[in-house]
Symmetry: C2
Subunit: 652 residues, 2 copies
């Protein structure tokens, strides 16, 4: 007997040092990432197939406690509460955990990011002193109770109420109907002892919009608090190590101090006050403090895509099938059809990696207060929304492609691609539905990041855009983009430029973004000026607006990738990264060649040239593919997929 | 308490009678479909969530026995063996079962289609008399043991051997190494008592290529046959009600009559003979008799897509979110962004439905002997390969989109979209990997359906195409396509035609197919004439060839859909089907607008018009979406997804 899968090594090549590239990818948080990898590699963190749901939930809770015990849970908390005051480290920790069990990741995110984040960012000193340390140690497990059965995306219309009773100086938390029950709430079914509950705040008969309050769910022994009803959400497609549940409140009373009162408070006598007068602005400011969730989800999605590619590329290097006549079969990654499936996804994964690092750096700058500009905060929110949608969709596409590229072996549960996909799937929906987030990002682009347009309610956006001359909207774009837009329909001037010239690629990406944003704004104005109904106008342009957000994220990722290439000091690593960046840019242009031709920017002969260039880049990068996934630095014990290990041990 | 999900009915509209449309979809096998639906609706067929793997396998076996007991298992077998001599009915039965539990579907397919089909089509009267009746009743459960760990797609290179021993007049079945073990074999881990084993036939030291033999696996009590080793494949991403396993043979002896000898026989003295002299032709003829598997898999994939759309469209009609200012929220299917996600998939599902009916009709004509033309058989094989790839990819895309369109509710296991996706996933890989099948289909297009080019080995194809003048290859295309190809780059003549004119849409589809096929053939010749290595030439054009196969299937589906519209007698049904066919045609053109511009067929102003038309068709068809999914005729008990039921019952 020989081996199950042939062990022919990857074809020899000169290559580069993947350790150097890993250093570059790990960046400033390399030490933290190594600490987390060390925890993940402990024997007790090895994945267990076929656990029952109950046992899996217990296991995940134990893992989460181990991460907390290692001091890795809340680097973003202030030092006085057990953290390091380093919000960027939170993202890096989440990103690294994203290579491992995703139920643990989400348990971690719910406890330390959402529950902890709500207390940290919406609460004040009393709440911090009372809760933060116990949250960071997992002594006080909690939930983030925002979504309701009837309202996910439309948070402003939540129906849970928190009514102030000045007699007792308490809030009464109530679920008026079944659509208003909190739903899909992590940590609710079993472990959560408290929750940050988002509810319509009602004071003296007047509604002040959605605010968050700290509400008890159950005591340490698991007994439900009076008036609280909890129902298990049961089996899900994935993430079954997380105990999601529905919560109903029947006139549950909490003290006045339960209100997380940083952006809105109620005096003992029952007078509402807020540092932010405009209710819409207040609402978006409160939600904005929670942007960490989206930044983290995007980071973990890129990690999941890396796992899938690591497995599929190694399998593609090792699996032989067909070949020239009377010669040995060749590795399937030698086939252009196989390269075409995996390598553009690998390039885009690198692009999104660097984009995520830039996003996390901006998040860190805003949340440490190094960048206090209001515009920076709003750009951050728009970018986080757009990135979250693109990274999670990219992860799903990558995992599915990887699964198919591994054939029957990919369908075996032990190889973990199915678990990865099932766990990742809901990332496209939670922390904001991807389609809604894409429109949220588009709105920010169209309105120059103004908050005043209210909720995602389309009419608000329409009214806002209508109120401004389109020229003003367009002015907000980079001046350079406008020049490109105006210079539209002159493709011939491009014909002589080298497709591999980075500046030219960047021009094409910027032009695309600017063109779509300007076109959408123009459509808005035209239709409104002829008296069309505002809601219908929004309907009509929504798809076009979504394209603007996608172009914006693509452009941002190219800038980030290109910046990383330029900053890279090792000549060999820099060379391979440069080619990969070319592949990202050109495969993105190829996928959108209909647009580039439609708007006269690329001639047919030119787009055909792009296709040829993508083919050549795939052929050229094929030899580096193995090292490029090695550089992701995913420990074998964490990847834990037999077909994805760097070498296959003899089975006999 | 009111309801969990609001029960607002679908917006009122004039509509059409979905029962009439269902009649049209059910077609000539309506009665058989109703019989199967009746079985599926029995209480004991209700899906059970959370069964252990062992219990699920037992359950599925019981279901399969119930289907057999109802006389619905083998309508394709000759009447003397319990069937009706109706191969088309086999496909219709499989298609209808595709709406229910997919483990049952695959158990059914393995037993009656693959195991039964191998005995029926590769065996002769002795085998039929001995086995067919017991296969049809499930008295004799069996496996189809083709795939090996080391060889899935490249069947000609299988390594299991069947060596004839003239001394004992037996074949010795042997697994020479671990890569040669049979793998992912359904019915192998638990239930299979025999298997059709595909092995290299060796007679007097000479290899005669892959043949199938009937080999015992275990007795009725489950005791393994001497020399047979079986290992459970364990947990899979889905289809866990099917007992897949690995099989190793250690010099297992079977009598000479175990050879399924329709296409190759060995005399007692050890002389090989075959009615087909050319070994390649023989191999492909044998495989060709198994085409039913691919026809059936495609049919079931369309059924699965229908389930997903039924759930998502009904949810989209019922789920309200956002709305005009100070007005009630609107159903999410009112949003163009939501329509754009679901309605083109609905249109394509209908197109593929009608394409499958045409494919099944051709399959029936060939296998009942009504159509005996060699070319028909080969076209059938090419079409089945191309259709299988496109339908299964379409099903995966549709299910994933439906899952996301149902948000958190779609992520709850009880709503079954995850199970549907996990079960359907491997359809893209089994019965031929989709990428390989796409190339197989392309090869047939390029070579005018010649079998002589040997296996999928690229060099064979290259040599074949090289041996012919490209003009000859091109001549095989429809004459009309060639005219279009020659008339390339004259987009202006199209500008005045109505995008909704069916004949014009068909011209565009035919032109696309013809253009790509001709272009690939030309590239072949050009590169070979300059002396490039044959293997590399294949590498270089593989992606382009795959595009030819996709265009071919798209065109075939448009013809089928358009034919169904023309044949429809009810004016209201005909009107809505016509619009849906327009949406299929134009959304397909829109998705490929880069190609149409690149090759000068559609001007930019024209492709923009296509996009506007797709938007309008979506808006128009939105009101019919509910009835269009009702017409799929999936019983509530079979759909079994609470969010996908036509109305939601009050929960309090």
């Amino acid at each position: 007997m020989t081996t199950l899968v042939s062990t022919t090594a990857e074809p020899p090549h000169e290559g580069f040092d993947p350790a150097l590239l890993q250093q570059l990818l790990d960046g400033k948080y390399a030490a933290l990432r190594d600490q987390i990898r060390a925890v993940q590699c402990r024997p007790e963190f090895a994945p267990v197939l076929g656990l029952s749901r109950d046992a899996y939930r217990v296991q995940v809770m134990e893992w989460a406690r181990a991460v907390a015990a290692a001091g890795l849970s809340v680097p973003g908390f202030p030092a006085e509460y057990g953290g390091q005051g380093d919000p960027g480290a939170n993202v890096a920790a989440f990103e690294t955990l994203g290579h491992g069990d995703l139920s643990l990741l989400i348990k971690f995110g719910v406890q330390f990011g959402l529950w902890g984040g709500a207390v940290q960012h919406l609460g004040t000193k009393l709440h911090h002193d009372t809760y933060l340390r116990a949250i960071g140690t997992l002594e006080l497990p909690g939930s983030f109770a925002m979504t309701e059965s009837g309202h996910g995306s439309n948070v402003q219309q939540l129906r849970t109420t928190a009514t102030y009773d000045p007699q007792t100086q308490e809030f009464v938390i109530d679920t008026p109907d079944e659509g208003a029950q909190k739903d899909y709430i992590g940590n609710a079914a079993v472990h959560g002892q408290m929750a940050a509950v988002f509810a319509q705040l009602i004071v003296a008969g007047e509604g002040h919009g959605v605010h968050a309050l700290v509400v008890p769910l159950r005591n340490k022994k698991g007994k439900l608090h009076p008036g609280v009803q909890i129902e298990d959400d049961g089996q899900k497609l994935g993430l079954n190590g997380v105990d999601n549940g529905k919560i109903r409140f029947d006139h549950v009373r909490v003290p006045r101090e339960a209100l997380l009162n940083r952006y809105g408070d109620v005096s003992p006598e029952g007078v509402y006050s807020s540092p932010i007068e405009n209710p819409n602005k207040r609402f978006f400011t409160m939600l904005g403090t929670l942007v960490q969730g989206r930044v983290c989800v995007g980071a973990a999605a890129v990690s999941a895509a890396k796992n899938a590619l690591t497995i599929a590329v190694r399998y593609g290097n090792r699996r032989h099938q067909f070949g020239p006549p009377d010669q040995p079969e060749v590795p399937i990654l030698d086939y252009r059809s196989h390269q075409r499936r995996l390598l553009p996804l690998l390039a885009r994964t690198y692009a999104l990696h660097f984009a995520q690092q830039e996003l996390a750096a901006r998040f860190d700058a805003v949340f440490t207060g190094r960048d206090t500009a209001e515009r920076s905060r709003r750009e951050l929110e728009a970018l986080a929304a757009g990135m979250k949608a693109q990274t999670t969709w990219h992860a799903m596409e990558t995992i599915q492609t990887a699964r198919e590229c591994c054939g029957g072996a990919g369908y075996i549960a032990a190889n973990r691609l199915g678990e990865l996909r099932n766990d990742m799937d809901v990332f496209t929906t939670f922390e904001g539905d991807n389609t809604v987030l894409t429109l949220l990002c588009a709105r920010a682009l169209l309105t120059g990041y103004a908050h005043e347009v209210g909720d995602l309610n389309p009419a608000g956006l329409v009214t806002f855009v209508a109120a401004q001359a389109v020229e003003t909207v367009v002015e907000r774009l980079h001046a350079r983009q406008i020049v490109q837009v105006i210079a539209d329909a002159v493709p011939s001037r491009d014909e002589k430029r080298d497709l591999l010239e980075r500046a030219y690629q960047q021009e094409l990406f910027e032009w695309r973004e600017g063109h779509i944003v300007a076109a959408v704004a123009t459509r808005f104005r035209r239709r409104l000026s002829r008296g069309d109904d505002a809601f219908e106008v929004f309907q009509a342009v929504a798809d076009h607006a979504a394209a603007a957000a996608r172009a914006y994220v693509d452009n941002f990722a190219l800038e980030a990738f290109s910046g990383a290439v330029e900053a890279c000091e090792d000549p060999q690593v820099r060379a391979v990264l440069g080619r990969l960046c070319d592949l990202y840019a050109l495969s993105s242009i190829e996928a959108d060649k209909g647009f580039f031709q439609e708007h006269g920017r690329l001639a047919p002969s030119r787009t055909k040239q792009v296709t040829r260039e993508v083919n050549e880049l795939c052929a050229e990068l094929r030899k580096d593919a193995g090292l490029l996934v090695d550089a992701f630095g995913i420990p074998d014990a964490v990847l834990a997929a037999p077909i994805g290990l760097p070498t296959v041990t003899q089975t006999t």
